[in-house]
Each structure stands twice: as structure tokens, then as C-alpha cells.
Subunit: 390 residues, 2 copies
């Protein structure tokens, strides 16, 4: 087990109607005026934005609105938000939405008190201070409500880059009402499931040995996600299943699944290029990339894939390589049951420009990247080729 620092200071407030606490929670954090960040019209149409602003008004919190955040959020909306927050003198950012909205809110939060260009933080500058961020979560997937990370795409050049801040960017609170997810299209629920599973996989495939407690938490969370996701497919308004999936998304990414070991994150790098170049949904892209990456690893270093197969998918096979392959088949079968794509064509990219993808991913991530088996351009190419499927 490696040395580690672990702290999850976010206050998770979970259950029915908790969005109505937004105003009081902002007061508790010392806020007086909030920039509310939202995506498209669904939070308006559902009445959620109305309930949240009522809660703020009841608490005497002034507010202004930045709307129109899209999936794979872009730098231009961050600049817009920074300008608005400064002009309106907002001392709190409230994200009402899923990962893209929260990531945008965090980037704005880092940019507001910084004199330079916020993109500096994505180029390696450390975030020293930020405007506090709170979250009303509507899409369980990214785990951004409990992490210090944010991923933003720079439109000029299609660079999709993340910053990982252990402390400054973690939301102060996350209000999590599973009922808000009842009306998500099934494709969005299932992409979220693939996203949270991938957050666990990135931490599970490691060269660090002797971290049994973290392994078991990862394996248990994966088992729970698979069971509960299928319940949602059967009944989209199954409260407990929605609640389990929502909380699993947080557990998958708040750090508990990674303590004490090196993490990989190569698959996120490979997927980010698909999202940046082709605009695919991040979770759906991961459902395609991860089985391909795992297939590559089953040849090169099968041990972790074999343990995953045995402990999560109950594969009974003593040979590591063959066990790992069977596990991948089970994972793909689950993804298909969740109506997720498992190859590039199903993802809507029948003729992927693999040269461009390989070039971009190494430009953004360096050479090699990833840690379980560090990837060179030939490796990345092989994984993208495998992702084409048959």
C-alpha cells in the first residue's frame, strides 16, 4: 500500500426534497450572492430551477444565472461565467445539473479570484483559492459533486484537459435527491452507469499490491452498480435503485476507491479524444474504450483483469488471461443489456480517424501515458483499432 492523503470534506445531503435546502446551505457556507449554473432547459421545464431559486430567495440569497452548458463543457462558457460572477459580485457558485455543469462551475470558481487566464490551471498551475461551489445533482455519473476535479475542452484546438485539485475545488455541499433522476432518458442513465464504473476501473487497474480493503470496496461497488442499474431498466422510478446508483456515482469518484495506490486513467485519456473530436457522450465512449483497453491488458498484464472477472463476475477460471477475457465478455454483455454501444460503429463513428485520435491523445497526455501499462502510440492505436470491434 502506498502512502496517501484522503479527505472528503463535501457535505452530502441525500434524499427526497433536499434541493429545497439550497438557500440555507449557502448561508451556512457564508455565501450572500450565487451564480447559478445550469445546462439546457430540462431543469427549467421540470420546475427544479424554480424550486431552487425559491429556496435561495427564502434565505435572502441574491442570484444570477448562467445557462446553456453542454456535455463536454467548453472554455467559452467558463470565460462567460467568470465575467458574470465578477460583474455581479457573486461569492458562491451553485451548479444545478450533472458533471458538465459542475465542472464548468468549478472552473469558474477557480478563475474568478485569479488575475490571469483560468486556462493556466489546466496547463499545470495549482489552484490556491476558489469561490466556494455547491451542487444540486441531477445526473449521477461524473462523480464531480464529490471530487476536486474538472474537465474542460478548449474549443480552439480541441484540447480536453482536466485539473485535479485535492482540496480547493471540492464542492462544499452536494444536495442529492434520487427522484430528480426519474425522468432521465435511459440512454443518459446508462451512460452515467458506464461513467461511474469506469471511475472504479481506472483505480482498480494498478501495479500497487497489498491494498485489499480498497480492492474489496471497488468490487463491492461494481457489483452494486450492476444490480441496481438493471433494476432501473426494469423500473425507472424505483427509488431505492435510483438512490443506490446516485450514491455509487459519488463513492466511485470521491477517492475511497483509490486510496493507497497508483491509478491509471489512460482510458479516460483515450475516450476524451472521442468526445472532443466526435462529440460523443463521455459515458458511452467509455463503454466502448474500456473493454478494448482491458482486452489489450489481458494480453499484456492479465492479473488485475482476472481478479475483476473472478470477484465481480464470478468467473471460475484459473488461467489469468482466459479469466480476464471472460470478464470482459461479461462486462460487454452488461453494457449491451444497458443498451450501451460496445464498439465505435455502435457509438456512431463507423470510420474513426485513428491517426488523428492517436496524435491528439499523445499530444494531450504525453508519451507514454497511463500507469498500469504505459501506452505508446502503437499501443493507443491498437486499442482504438480493437474498439472498432468486428
Amino acid at each position: 500500500m502506498n502512502n496517501f492523503f484522503f479527505c472528503t470534506p463535501t457535505k452530502y445531503v441525500f434524499g427526497r426534497d433536499v434541493e429545497n435546502e439550497a438557500g440555507q446551505r449557502i448561508i451556512d457556507e457564508g455565501g450572500t450572492k450565487a451564480l447559478i449554473v445550469i445546462g439546457g432547459g430540462s431543469v427549467v421545464r421540470s420546475g427544479l430551477l424554480d424550486r431552487v431559486t425559491k429556496s435561495l430567495e427564502k434565505a435572502g440569497i441574491a442570484h444570477c444565472l448562467l445557462s446553456g452548458i453542454q456535455p463536454n463543457p467548453v472554455d467559452t462558457k467558463v470565460y462567460e461565467g467568470i465575467k458574470m460572477a465578477r460583474a455581479e459580485r457573486c461569492d458562491f457558485i451553485l451548479a444545478v445539473g450533472g458533471g458538465s455543469v459542475i465542472d464548468t462551475a468549478k472552473a469558474i470558481a477557480a478563475g474568478v479570484p485569479y488575475d490571469g487566464d483560468f486556462w493556466d490551471f489546466f496547463m499545470g498551475r495549482k489552484v490556491e483559492r476558489a469561490v466556494p461551489v455547491g451542487v444540486v445533482l441531477t445526473i449521477p455519473a461524473a462523480g464531480s459533486e464529490g471530487s476536486g476535479n474538472t474537465v474542460i475542452t478548449r474549443l480552439d484546438g480541441l484540447h480536453k484537459i482536466s485539473i485535479r485539485s485535492p482540496y480547493a475545488l471540492r464542492p462544499k455541499f452536494a444536495l442529492m435527491n434520487p427522484e430528480l433522476t426519474y425522468t432521465l432518458p435511459f440512454s443518459q442513465t446508462s451512460a452515467g452507469v458506464a461513467d461511474m464504473m469506469s471511475h472504479i476501473f481506472e483505480r482498480y487497474f494498478t501495479n500497487t499490491t497489498g491494498v485489499e480493503i480498497t480492492d474489496r470496496i471497488c468490487e463491492g461497488a461494481l457489483k452494486a452498480i450492476i444490480t441496481e442499474a438493471l433494476k432501473i431498466k426494469a423500473n425507472p422510478t424505483d427509488y431505492d435503485a435510483r438512490a443506490n446508483i446516485m450514491w455509487s456515482g459519488t463513492v466511485a469518484h470521491n477517492g475511497i476507491c483509490g486510496v493507497g495506490r497508483e491509478e491509471d486513467w489512460a482510458s479516460h485519456g483515450l475516450e476524451h479524444e472521442l468526445s472532443a473530436v466526435y462529440g460523443v457522450t463521455h459515458g458511452a465512449g467509455l463503454a466502448v474504450i474500456f473493454p478494448a483497453w482491458m482486452t489489450f491488458m489481458a494480453e499484456r498484464k492479465p492479473a488485475r483483469g482476472a481478479q475483476l472477472a473472478r470477484r465481480v463476475f464470478d468467473i471460475d477460471d484459473d488461467d489469468d488471461r482466459s479469466a480476464a477475457i471472460k470478464g470482459i465478455e461479461r462486462l460487454k454483455a452488461f453494457y449491451r443489456e444497458m443498451e450501451l454501444p460496445t464498439n465505435l460503429a455502435e457509438l456512431g463513428i463507423p470510420d474513426a480517424d485513428i491517426d488523428l485520435l492517436v496524435e491528439k491523445v499523445h499530444e494531450n497526455k504525453g508519451t507514454p501515458f497511463g500507469s498500469y501499462v504505459p501506452l505508446y502510440p502503437d499501443d493507443s492505436r491498437r486499442i482504438y483499432e480493437t474498439a472498432k470491434g468486428v
Copy 2:
């Protein structure tokens, strides 16, 4: 799943040599003078206290010392600590030890800024503010380094009572070096293992349904603890095994194993009387009480015990009652392998005064107490009788 609030703001700093960060960490929390709280002489003899005070001196943190905290810590040491902290104007309490030392430090922390008798907090008064507490952990067991709880025994009348504070009493940081536990006597390691397992059991036996993610985390942690504890028995200086057990003790009690559901805690009530009346080690007492409590539950409400048996001990039996009983046998076999007592005689109490125990537990906990099956005096009596074994 029930609504819940979850927050673990403690900064866990984990790995070799982290005790040397004590001084800097106190500065980061705004402290200038620390009351160091320790147990017996082992932290002196091992040189640990010396390393910690050197770290404080290097950081310019003045300090004074309260020593002599015993297992099942008592109110008199808390009064002594409050007096000392006030006289010396300490603005930080640093616990260097295990659960008893940390619990004493927390009770002092609550008492110092309070005008009345600190025991009021154990009688139900809410802790509004407290002096900040930090921890250098030497015994992984109680999980007190990551919880807001403290349990203190009032010598006058043998009342052993806990306070549970969701926020004010959580340590600011916990410095966790697994190497510090190499020299623990095996009996203390194994009592710690029984203690942390019991923290999971108290949360696992619940009437709340639909909390699969929390179930899986509990089951995974139990599996990890069993595997790693046996490795320590084989090799007390197995770093990774010590590290897994140390972190498992935190996971078991920082709340993640309980989110979204009612918890039980009847067994802790039953055990606390054994510790208060007979002075037995808390963890060893739990190794005796829990199988007896589970046996009672196998008759009255076997479902959760059956799931535990199937998922943690791989029992293949479709009948809930019979599966639960087989699970209890497996648990006891593990405890015996860890050289723990599994009945009152082995615990050193061949002629337990069961009338007194039943009277005391209901005096302290009320009637009924516990939630999975609320216990009345006849039930408590039956569990204590079962704990006698055969």
C-alpha cells in the same frame, strides 16, 4: 434507502513516518499550544512521544502532557485534562494512542469551552463547539480517529455512555503510520479486529431495505479484514497487512458503512456493561457478545445474518435460519483463530452476574434498546445467557 447526511472532513495522512508531520498539521489547523494526551508508557518507551514532541517543537508549537489514560477511559481523567488545558491555555488537543486516548481527548475538547460539567454532553446536551483535536493513531480498532463519537465511563456508578456528534468532535487530522502497530501484542491486534468488525455489524443489521451499495461496502470490508488479520497473525511486521487493517478500522467507523439506513448498536450496549463491570477489553467483549446476539437474531429475524453468511463467508444454504447459524459458526471459528474468546468464561468471567448486567444495560440504554429487533430485559438476559456458551 433512508435520507442521510454524510461528511468525513478528517484529513487522513497515511503511511510511513507521518507522525513527524504533527507539528505542521497543528499549525495548518491554527493551533499554537497543544495538550498531548497519551495512555501508558509504550508511546514513551517506543520513542514515539519523543518524535511527536520534536515535530511540535520544530514547528514552534508549545505543549503539555496528560498521561495515564486507561482502556475504558474514565471521567476523572477528562476532568483532569479540562483543568490542564484551561490552565495552560491549550488551543489544540493531540491524542497519541488508540480509541481510549482519542475518546478522552474528544471529551476534553468538548469540555474546555463549556461552562458547565462536561458530563452534560453524555446526558444528551449537544456539543456546539470544541477545541480542535488531532490524532497520531497507534491502535487500529475503535475508529475514533475518523468519527465524531466518544465513549466515557463515569466511575461513580459505572455508567459507560457515548456521545455521537456528527461534526464538532471529528478529529481535524489523523496521522496513521502502520509501522507503529508492529509491536502491538497479538491480543490487542485481535481485539482491535473484533472491534472494527463489530462497527460494521452494528450498521449491517438493519431493517432498512434497498441499500445495496452500503451492504456491498460492508461485506467487502469484512472480507478484507478477515484476510489481512490472518496475515498479521502469520507475520506481525507485514506492512501491507498492517496498513489494510489500520485503514479498515477507519472505513468501518467513519460512516461510509452506515449511510442510508437505521443502525442497531445493541451489542455495543450489551458489551459496554461487561467492560464497565468487569473491566474486560472492549474488542474481546464484542467477540463474545456479537455471536450471542447474532444467534438470538437467527431465531427472531434471520434475513440479514443469512445474507452476511452467504456473501462474506460463502455459505451455500437456501434456508435463512440455517445459513445464519452456519455464518455465526464461521465467525466464531475466525475469532478462535485470532485467539479471541467466544464465550464469557474464555473472557475471564466464569460467573457473570447476569442480573446486574441486565439491570445496568437497561438503565443506561433504556427499554427497549437496539433497532433491528428492539431488546427487552428478557431478550438481553437470553443473549447474556447465550454468551456463557457451553
